[in-house]
């Protein structure tokens, strides 16, 4: 019944099972200081996005164009990749191909070893997070410095980003102050963002100057020109790519656009969708290495993407440009925080992508969703996110991965809805129980549904009996007269 051979990446046998999203989110959701504050912070970003989207009359037209470009790119991805490789090589770059995360990490390590490097400066890249590059390199004696401020904060705290654009959105300024006091020697108790950012600027300047290789992600690769585009606000990717002689750009194979002109569409959508900015502060285009003494390495990474492309149902998830708009708008993400998803990409798109890697491990994610559809409405490349989340629930049912209680209640519902008599009996039972059951019988520790809810007042009579009294006779009267 599944259309694609899932899982896309086999789960190593020894890996620990992840917790259900509900369990993983509990601490965050029930913290009265945390969930409402997080919700508001992200709603603020979402509102800025709305303002930018509304300022462009052609916004919906741009979304359609972006969706069409991505559909066409993914359809002919193999050809575009070959074109990209040819043009990038002609421009003087070295193109590497990695089938999976392990190979990607080894390619990067090999380049570093070729240059006898132990210090690298890295800008934000969700791909390298996905591949676990930092840990791998650190285990091999490389000093990795994340240079995006948010990423540096979570790196110093030994955490992972909780958002793909705003990695430290789950942290309060007091916590950042504490981390900087510990690692950067700022004043104890400092919490002024300006002061803390200035401290990070000084700290990271030194790291930039001593970094021997710069590693960046890629926002867009251009098949027609063989170039890569990197967008940042902080300027960290640019410092990292223009001080050292060696620049390694790590890129998922779905990041391609066919033509140089296509960037016009995507640069208009990305910043506006992500943070509500008209464009990022820096949009840098790299075509080949800096000069004859420099190197540009581009690592093309598959890691499950070519298998995802085989699925007609989920292929559109490859359109994602990682703007994060779907998480900013998601009522579940905003209240539960990014870490509750326990995967590199959280939120609606993460809940679609993660199960494609391992449906068993991430089976609870498609249920961390109210199917409100807001993610689909804001997605700049028109991924039908809530439809895909619903499709995943079906898959998970077919795969027999539903929990026992969900499976049984679904079976019971199926029997109930197929029998008119049983349905009417259940209605009577429900109304009567609501009337006669004492409060303690419904509100106890075994019924989690009623922890924060009251049961409704039972109606005086059922619709059936009301209809029989008021309409049936009228209808029959009408017929006879």
């Amino acid at each position: 019944m599944t259309q694609v051979a899932l899982p896309i990446v086999d789960r190593p046998a020894e890996k620990k099972m992840k917790r259900d999203h509900t369990d993983a989110a509990r601490a965050f959701v029930t913290n009265p200081d945390r969930a409402p504050w997080h919700d508001e912070s992200l709603w603020f970003v979402r509102s800025k996005r709305d303002k930018q989207a509304a300022s462009l009359p052609e916004w919906e037209y741009l979304r359609s164009l972006a969706s069409q470009v991505k559909t066409a790119t993914i359809a002919r991805l193999g050809e575009y990749l070959v074109e990209f490789e040819r043009n990038a090589t002609n421009a003087g770059a070295t193109v590497h191909w990695a089938a999976d995360a392990k190979e990607h990490n080894e390619i990067v390590l090999n380049i570093l070893r070729d240059h006898k490097t132990t210090k690298i400066v890295k800008s934000k890249s969700m791909l390298t997070e996905e591949c676990g590059l930092n840990h791998f390199l650190e285990d091999n004696g490389i000093d990795v410095v994340d240079t995006d401020l948010g990423e540096r904060i979570v790196q110093l705290r030994h955490e992972t980003p909780s958002h793909i654009v705003l990695p430290a959105i789950h942290l309060k300024k007091e916590e950042v102050g504490e981390t900087f006091y510990e690692h950067l020697g700022t004043e104890k108790g400092a919490k002024d963002p300006k002061y803390l950012a200035e401290a990070a600027r000084g700290h990271l300047r030194d790291k930039f100057l001593s970094g021997e290789v710069g590693v960046t992600g890629v926002n867009f690769g251009i098949a027609e020109t063989g170039g890569v585009v990197v967008c940042t606000n902080e300027g960290n990717a640019d410092l990292g790519a223009s001080l050292p002689r060696v620049h390694i750009a790590c890129m998922g194979i779905e990041k391609l656009v066919p033509r140089f002109q296509d960037l016009g569409i995507f640069t208009r959508l990305l910043g506006r969708s992500a943070t509500g900015q008209p464009i990022t502060a820096y949009t840098s285009h790299f075509h080949g290495p800096r000069d004859e003494n420099s190197e540009l390495h581009i690592v093309l990474v598959d890691n499950g993407r070519s298998k995802l492309r085989q699925s007609d149902e989920f292929r559109a998830a490859m359109h994602c440009i990682r703007c994060g708009a779907c998480m900013n708008t998601c009522p579940v993400y905003r209240r539960s925080g990014g870490h509750s998803y326990q995967s590199t990409v959280p939120g609606p798109i993460g809940s679609v992508l993660s199960p494609t890697r391992d449906p068993k491990e991430h089976k609870s994610l498609p249920y961390a969703c109210s199917l409100c559809g807001s993610c689909t409405d804001v997605c700049p490349v028109k991924i039908p996110l809530h439809h895909q989340l619903l499709a995943w629930r079906k898959e998970i049912g077919f795969m027999n991965l539903l929990s026992y209680d969900k499976r049984m209640s679904m079976k019971a519902a199926s029997i109930l809805f197929r029998s008119a008599k049983l349905f009417s009996l259940a209605g009577w039972l429900g109304r009567t129980s609501l009337k006669v059951l004492p409060h303690w019988a419904t509100h106890h520790r075994f019924n989690t549904w009623t922890i924060a809810r009251e049961l409704p007042q039972p109606p005086k009579e059922s619709f059936r009996s009301w209809y029989a009294k008021n309409r049936k006779s009228e209808n029959s009267k009408g017929k006879t007269s």
């Binding site: 193999g78 070959v82 080894e106 950042v176 001080l243 016009g264 290495p289 292929r315």
Partner: protein, 209 residues
């Protein structure tokens, strides 16, 4: 702990084939690439005003000058410029260098630059961005390493939106090119906007005739 790794060349060639084989094996139909219809794209009555308005909202400062020689005069009124020791001017008609850039080979030696004055090719009305071609930069790091950045661009050289911007560039002419829109910034600490993350702390834009 150094682990042995198989030779890279063979591994990457094999993976290249595996990836391409899988991509080519599954044929996916699509209606093809669209061409944006210029009539559906916003144009501004006053592109200069739009550009200035957007750039100011993202933290940049715009100055209209009648003569490039006014640039140094205006900059001189800014305290951090007046006190600056190391200024790199890539626009000789606008401001003078305080040291000889041509003697510098390693970009790391530019770490103490206070100001860079760069030349912009053209600006984009819709988003306050300015295109700077890498050919105009002896070291591309000059744009990012200087504490403060000024860009001089002609007010006749503009496009309305990013589609026209890429059409104007046509094809990349040098290994590096960048759209700069405002000073470097971060909001990574509790969504509080701080100007001056890693790149320049402030951006001055001079629009010359």
């Amino acid at each position: 702990m150094i682990q042995p790794i198989e030779p890279m060349q063979t591994a990457t060639t094999k993976s290249r084939q595996t990836i391409l084989d899988r991509l080519m094996a599954k044929v996916v139909e699509s209606p093809g690439l669209p061409t944006p219809d210029p009539l559906k794209l916003t144009r501004f009555d006053d592109p200069l005003a739009k550009f200035s308005e957007v750039l100011e909202t993202v933290g940049g400062q715009v100055h209209l000058v009648d003569d490039p020689r006014q640039v140094a005069k205006i900059l001189g009124k800014i305290e951090v410029f007046a006190n600056a020791e190391r200024i790199v001017s890539l626009v000789p008609e606008a401001a003078d260098n305080t040291f000889d850039i041509s003697s510098i080979d390693d970009p790391h030696d530019l770490s103490a630059v206070d100001w860079t004055i760069a030349r912009g090719d053209f600006f984009v009305a819709e988003n306050g961005a300015i295109w700077i071609d890498g050919q105009t930069l002896p070291h591309r790091v000059l744009l990012f390493i200087a504490q403060y950045l000024a860009i001089v661009v002609s007010r006749r050289e503009f496009v309305h939106h990013m589609h026209d911007a890429y059409a104007r560039i046509e094809a990349p002419k040098s290994p590096f090119g960048v759209f700069v829109s405002g000073p470097s910034k971060t909001a990574d600490i509790e969504q509080s906007l701080v100007l001056g993350a890693h790149g320049c702390r402030a951006l001055q834009v001079f629009l010359t005739p």
